[in-house]
Symmetry: C2
DNA sequence: TTGTTTACTAAACAGTGTTCAGTACATTTG
DNA sequence: CAAATGTACTGAACACTGTTTAGTAAACAA
């Protein structure tokens, strides 16, 4: 009686269909401008159908946020293989930037928008596992730096948070257009300089 | 013939009336949840009236974003009077945090939301003067630190951007609920520790 | 007392997320 | 096989949203 299994498979496929259409539309048009109706049109189903597979729009956004984390972890992989822990750290920073530049909508969803987090708040079972897992990569790297004597920090978690904040802040200010006071031509160079300066500072810093 | 002046005064008062009602509603309910109709109801006018004083919702948000900057600059004033430039820098950082904690909706509008910046994009006359002015305070302070020999940085602007990024990143990650993986009790302490570590790092750093 | 300008609004437009009663088909049961 | 049950889906509605426009009533100028 594989009938119930087939049904489950079909259900899974439908979820995937919705998710892929949604993702495509989002990355094309931006999250703010895509409606449930747009997604429904794209897959040629009624809007109500989507609600049979996702509780609400936030849950759909959360699902795509998850896809984003998968992608990001994949793109971080090469950095994690570098021998020197400090090189590893720097490369992780660079890849954080690059991911944001190349996937601004996805990055927004993962680290800036509130909507997907609102979905998390409704079901108290997990505490943003995706974020936790990704952040753990950074903590590990920082700990390696400490162990290798590059840093003299005591607490790898605190140091990791500081480093994440610095890199994220730069990215977020740019993505949310808070660096508009700099001429467009200088902007990217300025950001890179700020990042480089940060790296130099923590390297010599402590 | 003071009649035209009275009219202008009335127009200005009406703008103020709208702005104050809007601000009150926004700070009570959050920006996402307040509609033009809500504001209109609050001041007992029709929704269409608001469009006689503001081009669209983004412009209204931009006007409130401006009020936020006035408030922020006021709250920064005491920090700017400190004798030691590095103390000044640290105190500015602390006040950035505090402003964000005490006025999360306003902070969001000033540094995270896209809507008010979309308003800016439409009229190319100025390049976010409010942001530029506030950032200039930081640059000046960093330059003072360089002059006093606390920092050996070359470029005050780049250093200021790095510092702003670090402080802002921490704040933004918190406000947008990206530190949910830490238990609520630890969260604030962790943020303070990360800030302190950053301060120590740049102090000894270069 | 005209004519004109100004300030305002009712109503509509085109959209949004979401819900629910109802339908048509697949599956199970007698 | 036919009847009963279960499931997947949808049309249409609800209560909103930002925004525009035609029209009105009052204030002002001639």
């Amino acid at each position: 009686m594989g009938i119930v299994e087939r049904k489950e498979r079909e259900k899974e496929e439908m979820r995937k269909l919705i998710l892929e259409a949604a993702q495509k539309l989002f990355l094309e048009t931006g999250f703010e401008k895509v409606s449930i109706r747009n997604i429904a049109d794209a897959i040629e189903y009624s809007p109500a159908t989507i609600y049979l597979y996702f509780k609400d729009k936030n849950e759909l956004l959360y699902a795509i946020h998850n896809i984003g984390f998968q992608k990001m972890v994949e793109e971080f992989q090469p950095a994690l293989n570098l021998a020197d822990p400090f090189d590893r750290l720097v490369e992780m920073g660079r890849r954080y930037f690059r991911f944001a530049f190349e996937n601004p909508e996805l990055f927004d969803l993962m680290f800036i928008m509130t909507a997907p987090m609102d979905s998390l708040a409704c079901r108290d079972d997990d505490k943003w596992d995706e974020g936790r897992t990704a952040f753990q990569l950074l903590i590990t790297c920082v700990q390696d730096c400490i162990d290798a004597g590059v840093f003299k920090y005591q607490d790898a978690e605190v140091a990791a948070l500081m480093i994440w904040s610095a890199v994220h802040g730069n990215t977020a200010l740019f993505l949310r257009k808070r660096l508009e006071m700099f001429e467009e031509s200088r902007r990217k160079q300025l950001m890179e300089d700020a990042f480089t300066l940060f790296i130099e500072t923590i390297h010599k810093g402590l």
